[in-house]
Amino acid sequence: MNSPENAPKPVKPEDIEALVEVFQASDWDEMHLQVGDFEIFLSNDPKAMPPGATPAAAAIAAPAAAPANPAPAAAAAGAPTPAAPAAAPEDVPAHWQAVTAPNLGTFYRAPKPGAEPYCEVGQQVTEDTELCLIEVMKLFTALRGGINGTVRRICVKDGEMVEYGQPLFYIEPA
């Protein structure tokens, strides 16, 4: 990234987001980066600790994306991800977790027109519960939330276009 003689610049949220994306796209086990006062440690192992760091050091576990997910490949995307850009609305309690769109597409709440929706507000869901469909050019992919808990909010209307990273649901973890 920056060559060493460049003075370190304030690290912005987008930078961290970009780093997390690089890490997610890689087959690395962990990544440790230090620029001036800024330090980030990413690992696929939830118990991992930064090398030589005190337990208080910032450790951001990588999202439980591809590696740990036994779901079929077509439906593996869309785990709650720290890459989600939009700040949660103010009335969303901090412990609720957003399920975001894995890519741009059209959001459908039910498997087909007229059918029962995959989920409703108040419903208990598990990591493997299908929450909605995301359609791209007639290719429908069921999205799993990856969280055990209760659906607290459905943020998008049936048939709306959603963008990558847009919150679709908020789930209160069990």
Binding site: M1, K9, A25, P102, L104, M161
Partner: protein
């Protein structure tokens, strides 16, 4: 029907360039970006921005279905692919066609036919356009030896599905051929999933010249003069200029005529570039390929003709008449472009992404900057390293060189390392000023020893 709302399926300077022409024509714009490109001069210039997917291009800029879905869902009636990414993938053009979205480029079948070098070569031959003496597909090393003996060494092996120099090897002797044949075949298979190779005579002193054209899709083709892009490293262009002033007028006329002939034959639609190899010793030209997109170096043609080529593209895609005849296109003066890549030319062109901390581009008569960069912009590590293009126009080549050197000297750019110091070295070199360079000049004569001239570390 003129375009009402345009989807721009690209990033960086070309996205911004397209957005500006579209806006000037009163066309609404939607820009599709990856999560890494949410903010910047491109998004600021678009009427609407949609985030396609995460930063890796495979999940954003290279996903044709995602892009066409986004274009349709945002109500766009046309799509500009820019250059690179999916611009020359027939799949994107075909999906647009199926969805009733005007693709700002050639028909999918044209892109397909020109994308395969063998079929492009066959098209050139059918149109009576000269090609480098060469062969059809070569199946094995024995046929390669025989073909090389017939053509005369040195020869160059190329991947049929290749491009950008990959899968391409030169052999000066039969021993080299034996060694390079297997390697070229393997590399072609690995890079393109297609191990077919063909062979051409290698031209020792070659310049790269190309003709900018715009076709109406019905066989009508206009040319916008030629460019010389002989300053190359590993088949990547670094500096481009227009016109190709080293070429005699009679040969230049043949060049334009050949470019028009092949594009008329292909009933080419929209903007394209016909690339030729200029054999300086024989004073002859050979067709290389047609690039079925707008190219990085289109601004030098715009500068000498005074015509907005992106606007031409949008008009053709919208079915509008260009309102131009060949006689209206009168090149004047000389234009040169340097690509500004975030790479360290003193350290083997190592990528140098990162935040731009200082950005004060030069201004002045005849100086143009096509760039999405600005102070505070983070050059993301996911995409190609080009952060802009500095272009000058002068009344002749000597003035253009001097203006460009002054512009580079006045450019304050801090943060990433860039190729600008190398560009200055090239422009001020006696061989470049004398215009005696070839496509191997940079690598043979300038780059060796260049790293040793690095300024002391500014730590």
């Amino acid at each position: 029907m003129p375009i009402r709302r345009l989807f721009v399926a690209n990033r960086g300077e070309i996205a911004l360039r397209i957005l500006r022409s579209a806006r000037a024509m009163g066309i609404e714009t939607v820009l599709g970006v990856s999560a890494a490109d949410r903010e910047g001069a491109g998004p600021d210039a678009a009427d609407r921005v949609v985030v396609l997917g995460p930063a890796p291009s495979a999940q954003s800029y290279l996903d044709a279905r995602l892009i066409v879905h986004a274009a349709r869902a945002t109500g766009c009636d046309a799509l500009h692919p820019g250059y690179g990414f999916l611009s020359e993938k027939p799949e994107l053009a075909r999906l647009c066609e199926e969805e009733g979205i005007a693709f700002v480029g050639p028909r999918p079948e044209t892109i397909e036919a020109l994308g395969d070098k063998m079929s492009a070569r066959a098209m050139a031959i059918a149109a009576g356009v000269p090609t480098v003496p060469g062969t059809d597909h070569i199946a094995d090393i024995a046929s390669a030896r025989k073909a090389a003996a017939d053509l005369g060494y040195p020869v160059v092996m190329k991947a049929s599905a290749g491009g950008g120099g990959r899968g391409m090897f030169k052999a000066a002797t039969e021993a080299e051929l034996d060694a390079s044949f297997e390697r070229a075949s393997r590399e072609a298979q690995a890079a393109f999933g297609d191990n077919r190779l063909y062979m051409e005579r290698f031209v020792e002193a070659a310049r790269h010249v190309e003709v900018q054209i715009v076709g109406d899709g019905e066989g009508g083709v206009l040319h916008f003069g030629e460019r010389d892009c002989s300053v190359q490293r590993r088949y990547q262009k670094l500096i481009e200029e227009a016109p190709a002033s080293a070429m005699p007028d009679a040969l230049r006329a043949r060049l334009h005529e050949a470019a028009i002939r092949i594009c008329a034959h292909a009933r080419y639609r929209n903007a394209g570039t016909v690339e030729f190899l200029y054999d300086v010793a024989r004073q002859d030209i050979y067709f290389i390929e047609v690039n079925s997109r707008i190219q990085v170096e289109h601004p030098v043609s715009e500068e000498i003709t005074g015509i907005d080529l992106i606007a031409c593209q949008l008009k053709v895609a919208g079915g509008e008449a260009l309102g131009l005849t060949q006689a209206d296109i009168r090149p004047s003066g000389h234009a040169i472009e340097v690509r500004i890549n975030a790479e360290d030319p003193f350290a083997d062109f190592r990528p140098s992404p990162g935040r731009i901390t200082g950005w004060e581009p030069p201004r002045g008569p005849g100086v143009r900057l096509d760039s999405h960069a600005r102070a505070g912009y983070l050059v993301p590590p996911f995409y190609d390293s080009m952060i802009g293009k500095l272009i000058v126009h002068g009344h002749d080549r000597a003035q253009a060189i001097d203006r460009l050197l002054q512009a580079i000297a006045a450019f304050r750019l801090e943060g990433p390392r860039t190729t600008l110091p190398l560009a200055a070295r090239i422009l001020d070199h006696p061989d470049f000023r004398a215009n005696t360079i070839t496509t191997r000049w940079l690598e043979d004569r300038v780059l060796p020893g260049f790293a040793a001239t690095a300024p002391a570390a500014d730590a």
